[in-house]
C-alpha cells in the first residue's frame, strides 16, 4: 500500500502551559469545547418521553410539573374527553421549549387506555409496536442513499412507568410490562400519588419493588451494565438505591413560608412537590433532566437502537448465516487450491480426494 501508519504514539504529551512560556505555548485545542457548545445550542435538542400507567395516576400532572408548562395532551385538546378508549391509543404531542438559549423539541407520548380494561392481556403490544416503529423509521432514514443532514429523532428515549401506590408489591401487569419493555427502552418506574403513603410504608414498598425487579431480571434505568467507570457507577448506585421514585405532581402554586411553590393543599397540610422531605420529585427531575438526559439519549441511540438494528438486519437474512460484514466482497472466498497440491503419493492423494468427495 502507499502509506504506512504507526499505530499511535502514546506520547508526546503536550501540556498547554509550559512553566516559562506564558501565552505562547497555548495551542487552543480546548477551544473545541466552546465550538461544540455553540453548535449544540444552534442545532437544538430533541427529547421524547413516554408515560405509561393506568388512568387517574397523575401522569399528565406529573409531566406538567416536570416541564413547568402545559405539555400534557389534556391541555392541548380543546375538550378533553374522560372516557377510556376501547383500545390503547398512542398520542404524541410535540412542544418547542426554550431555556437560557437552549432550545428543545420535547415530545410527550401518552398511552390512554393502558391497564384500564377488564382484560389487559397483551396491553404492552401496541406500545412495543410504537417503540419499534420509531426505531424502524430511523433505520429507514439511515439506510437511505440520499439521507437528510439531520435525521429527525422520534425514538422513545425514556418511558416513565407509573406504579399505583398500593403499598404491597408489583402487580402482574406491572411485572409483565416492565419485563418486556426494559429490553427495548429505558424504563424509569415511579410510584404515583406517593402522598398516600407514609414514609415507612414508602420505604417498605420501594424495597419490595426493588426485590421484585431483581427477581424478575428487570433492568431499569440506570442499567448496571452500562456504567462507564467507577465514578459513574458510584453516582448511578446512589440513584439505583432510590428507584422507584415516589412522586407527587402538581401544577398549582401555593404560598408557603412567604414563597410561592408548587404543591397540593389538603386539610392536614400542604405537600410541597419540590421538597425532598415530602417526595422525591426533585430527584426524578434531576435525574431525567439536569444530569442524565444526554446519557438517556445515548443509551437509546447506541444500545437499544443498535440492538433493534441487529435484530432487524439479521432476520432478513433468512436461512443464511449472518455475515459479519454486510457489504459483498468479490475476493474473500477460497483461493485456487488444486495447483498447490503436488503428487506426494498416490495413496495420499486418494485419501484427500475421498475426503473432498
Amino acid at each position: 500500500m502507499s502509506e504506512s501508519a504507526k499505530p499511535h504514539h502514546p506520547g508526546p504529551q503536550v501540556k498547554g502551559e509550559k512553566p516559562h512560556g506564558g501565552d505562547f505555548s497555548y495551542v487552543g485545542i480546548d477551544a473545541i469545547l466552546e465550538q461544540m457548545r455553540r453548535k449544540a445550542m444552534k442545532q437544538g435538542f430533541e427529547f421524547n418521553i413516554m408515560v405509561v400507567g393506568q388512568s387517574g395516576l397523575g401522569k399528565s400532572t406529573l409531566m406538567n410539573t416536570l416541564f413547568k408548562s402545559k405539555v400534557s395532551r389534556k391541555s392541548v385538546l380543546p375538550n378533553p374527553e374522560e372516557r377510556i378508549p376501547k383500545t390503547i391509543e398512542i398520542k404524541s404531542i410535540s412542544h418547542d421549549i426554550e431555556e437560557k438559549g437552549v432550545r428543545m423539541k420535547l415530545t410527550v407520548i401518552d398511552t390512554p387506555g393502558f391497564g384500564d380494561h377488564i382484560n389487559n392481556e397483551n396491553c404492552w403490544q401496541p406500545i412495543m409496536k410504537f417503540i419499534n416503529d420509531q426505531y424502524e423509521a430511523y433505520l429507514q432514514e439511515e439506510i437511505h442513499i440520499n439521507r437528510k443532514k439531520r435525521i429527525p429523532d422520534s425514538r422513545v428515549h425514556c418511558c416513565i412507568y407509573f406504579i399505583p401506590p398500593t403499598g404491597h408489591c408489583l402487580r402482574p401487569l406491572d411485572v409483565e410490562f416492565m419485563r418486556r419493555l426494559s429490553k427495548v427502552v429505558n424504563i424509569v418506574p415511579v410510584i404515583a400519588k406517593a402522598d398516600t403513603l407514609t414514609l415507612e410504608e414508602r420505604d417498605f414498598f420501594k424495597q419490595t419493588i426493588r426485590e421484585e425487579l431483581r427477581a424478575n431480571g428487570i433492568d431499569v434505568y440506570p442499567q448496571k451494565e452500562f456504567d462507564e467507570d467507577a465514578e459513574d457507577r458510584m453516582i448511578n448506585d446512589k440513584n439505583r438505591e432510590m428507584i422507584p421514585f415516589a412522586v407527587v405532581g402538581s401544577d398549582q402554586e401555593y404560598q408557603v413560608n412567604g414563597k410561592r411553590i408548587l404543591g397540593r393543599k389538603t386539610k392536614w397540610g400542604t405537600i410541597e412537590v419540590e421538597n425532598i422531605a415530602h417526595c422525591e420529585f426533585a430527584y426524578l427531575r434531576d435525574l431525567l433532566i439536569r444530569t442524565h438526559m444526554q446519557n438517556i439519549k445515548d443509551i437509546t441511540g447506541s444500545i437499544h437502537y443498535e440492538a433493534y438494528r441487529v435484530r432487524r438486519l439479521n432476520e432478513s437474512n433468512g436461512h443464511f448465516t449472518p455475515h459479519p460484514t454486510v457489504e459483498p466482497k468479490a475476493n474473500g472466498q477460497p483461493e485456487a487450491q488444486p495447483s498447490a497440491l503436488q503428487a506426494n503419493g498416490v495413496a495420499a492423494q486418494h485419501e484427500a480426494l475421498s475426503h473432498e468427495m
Binding site: H8, S69, S316, E327, Q333, M357
Partner: protein, 427 residues
C-alpha cells in the same frame, strides 16, 4: 448532523411553549460537552506539499510539540503517504491527532499520477468508515475516525502563480476534503509581492473551479472573524521550532543576518491566523463538513455504484434491505457456482494426476517384473553353468583320481620295474 439553516423551524403540530419556571435542561449542552470530554476528540490533518517545503516544521509549530519527523529523500519513485497518530492533551481536552504527510510529492519526473495516492488514501478512510457503518454489529462511538478533516496544501513561494501540479491536485481533491491552501516559507516573499501573489492564486483557483474550504459564516459569534479571514486566504506561513530572544522574551522565530522573522508576529506572517482558524475557531466545523458533505457524497456515489437505489424504475421506494438481499443472494449463488467449478477442476486434476501416476506405477511394475525375470534367467543360467562346472569338477576329480590310481599303480609297477631295473642295472 447539523444543517446550515436554522434548525427546529416551527413544524406543523409542534407548539411553542413558554416555561413557568426553571426546568433545568439548559444544562444539556454541558452534559453533551462532558460526554465529549470523556470520549476525547479526533482530528486528522493531511499535509500535501513538495519535499522540503516545511510541512513537518509547520505541524511542529502549530501544535507546539516535536513530532519527531525525519527528512525524506528527494528520490522517491512514487508519491507515498505517511500517517502518524499522536495523543495530545491541553487542560482537560484530549485530542487524538493524526498527521498525514506526503512523501516525494513533486519529486518525480512524470507527475501525472502524483495525486492518485492521495485520493486513494482519502477514499480508503471513507471506505473503512462506510464499512463500519454498514456492519450489522457495529460500534460507531468507539470507532477511531480516520477520515481526513482538513487538508493543508502547501504552495511554493514562487511569487508568480500556482503550478499546474497544484491546480490538478487541488481540483481532484476539492470534492473529497476541506482544502486550506497555505503559502509556505513566506519569509522569502516581500509584502507587496505577497499581496499580488495571493490575489493571483485566488483568481486562478476561482477560474479553474477549485472549491476550497470557506470558513463558515452562519454563526453570528464567529461570522465576523471568519469573513475577515476568508479574505486573507491563502495564509502565508512561516514555521519554526527554534526560539530566539527578542527584546526580553524568547519567541519562536527564524534568525537571519538581516533580521529575525517572528512566527507569532502578525506583521511578519499569517501563522497566528492559521492557528486561530484551524484550531481555535473552526475545528468542529471542519469535522462536521467532512462528515455531512464529503463523506455523504462518497457514500452516495459508492452505494449507487454498487447498484442500490432509493426508488426503483416505477418510482416506488425500494428498501435498501431488499436490494441488498437480492444482491446478496446473487452473490452467494455465484460464489457457490465458482466454488463448485473449482471443486470440479480440482477433482479432475487429481484424477488426471492419479491416472498418470498409476501408469507410471504400472510401468515401473513392468520393468520390475522384467528385471526380475532377467535376474531369474541369469540365475538359472548361472545355475546351469555351475552344475556344468561341478560336473566338470567331479568328472575332473574322478579322472584325476583314476589317473592318480593309475599313476600310483604304474609307479609301484615302475618302482618294481625300476627296482628291478636298478637292481638289474641300468640298461
Amino acid at each position: 448532523m447539523a444543517s446550515s439553516d436554522v434548525a427546529l423551524l416551527p413544524d406543523k403540530g409542534v407548539r411553542p411553549l413558554s416555561l413557568a419556571g426553571h426546568v433545568g435542561f439548559d444544562s444539556l449542552p454541558d452534559q453533551l460537552v462532558n460526554k465529549s470530554i470523556y470520549q476525547g476528540f479526533c482530528f486528522n490533518i493531511l499535509c500535501i506539499g513538495e519535499t522540503g517545503i516545511g510541512k513537518s516544521t509547520l505541524m511542529d509549530t502549530l501544535f507546539n510539540t516535536n513530532f519527531e519527523n525525519f527528512e525524506s529523500s528527494h528520490f522517491e519513485p512514487q508519491v507515498k503517504l505517511r500517517a502518524q497518530t499522536y495523543d495530545l492533551q491541553e487542560s482537560n481536552v484530549r485530542l487524538r491527532l493524526t498527521v498525514v504527510n506526503t512523501v516525494g510529492f513533486g519529486d518525480q519526473m512524470n507527475k501525472q499520477e502524483s495525486y492518485q495516492p492521495v485520493v486513494d488514501y482519502i477514499d480508503k478512510q471513507f471506505e473503512s468508515y462506510l464499512q463500519e457503518e454498514l456492519k450489522i454489529k457495529r460500534s460507531l462511538h468507539n470507532y477511531h475516525d480516520s477520515r481526513v478533516h482538513a487538508c493543508l496544501y502547501f504552495i511554493s513561494p514562487s511569487g508568480h502563480s500556482l503550478k499546474s501540479l497544484d491546480l490538478v491536485t487541488m481540483k481532484k481533491l476539492d470534492s473529497k476534503v476541506n482544502i486550506i491552501p497555505v503559502i509556505a516559507k513566506a519569509d522569502t516573499i516581500s509584502k507587496s509581492e505577497l499581496h499580488k501573489f495571493k490575489i493571483k492564486i485566488m483568481s486562478e483557483l476561482v477560474s479553474n473551479g477549485v472549491q476550497i474550504y470557506q470558513f463558515p459564516l452562519d454563526d453570528e459569534n464567529v461570522a465576523k472573524v471568519n469573513t475577515t479571514m476568508n479574505g486573507h486566504l491563502p495564509f502565508a506561513v512561516v514555521g519554526s521550532t527554534e526560539e530566539v530572544s527578542v527584546g526580553n522574551k524568547m519567541v519562536k522565530a527564524r534568525q537571519y543576518p538581516w533580521g529575525v522573522v517572528q512566527v507569532e508576529n502578525e506583521n511578519h506572517c499569517d501563522f497566528v491566523k492559521l492557528r486561530e482558524m484551524l484550531i481555535c475557531v473552526n475545528m468542529e466545523d471542519l469535522r462536521e463538513q467532512t462528515h455531512t458533505r464529503h463523506y455523504e457524497l462518497y457514500r452516495r456515489c459508492k452505494l449507487e455504484e454498487m447498484g442500490f437505489k432509493d426508488t426503483d424504475p416505477e418510482s416506488k421506494p425500494v428498501s435498501l434491505q431488499e436490494t441488498y438481499e437480492a444482491k446478496r443472494q446473487e452473490f452467494l449463488v455465484e460464489l457457490q457456482k465458482r466454488e463448485d467449478e473449482m471443486r470440479q477442476m480440482f477433482v479432475q486434476r487429481v484424477k488426471e494426476k492419479e491416472s498418470e501416476l498409476k501408469d507410471a506405477e504400472r510401468e515401473l511394475q513392468g520393468r520390475f517384473e522384467q528385471l526380475k525375470r532377467l535376474h531369474a534367467d541369469e540365475k538359472a543360467a548361472l545355475e546351469d553353468k555351475r552344475r556344468l562346472l561341478e560336473e566338470d569338477q567331479s568328472s575332473f576329480s574322478k579322472r584325476r583320481a583314476a589317473a592318480q590310481l593309475l599313476q600310483a599303480q604304474s609307479l609301484t609297477a615302475n618302482g618294481k620295474k625300476d627296482k628291478d631295473r636298478k637292481n638289474s642295472g641300468f640298461m
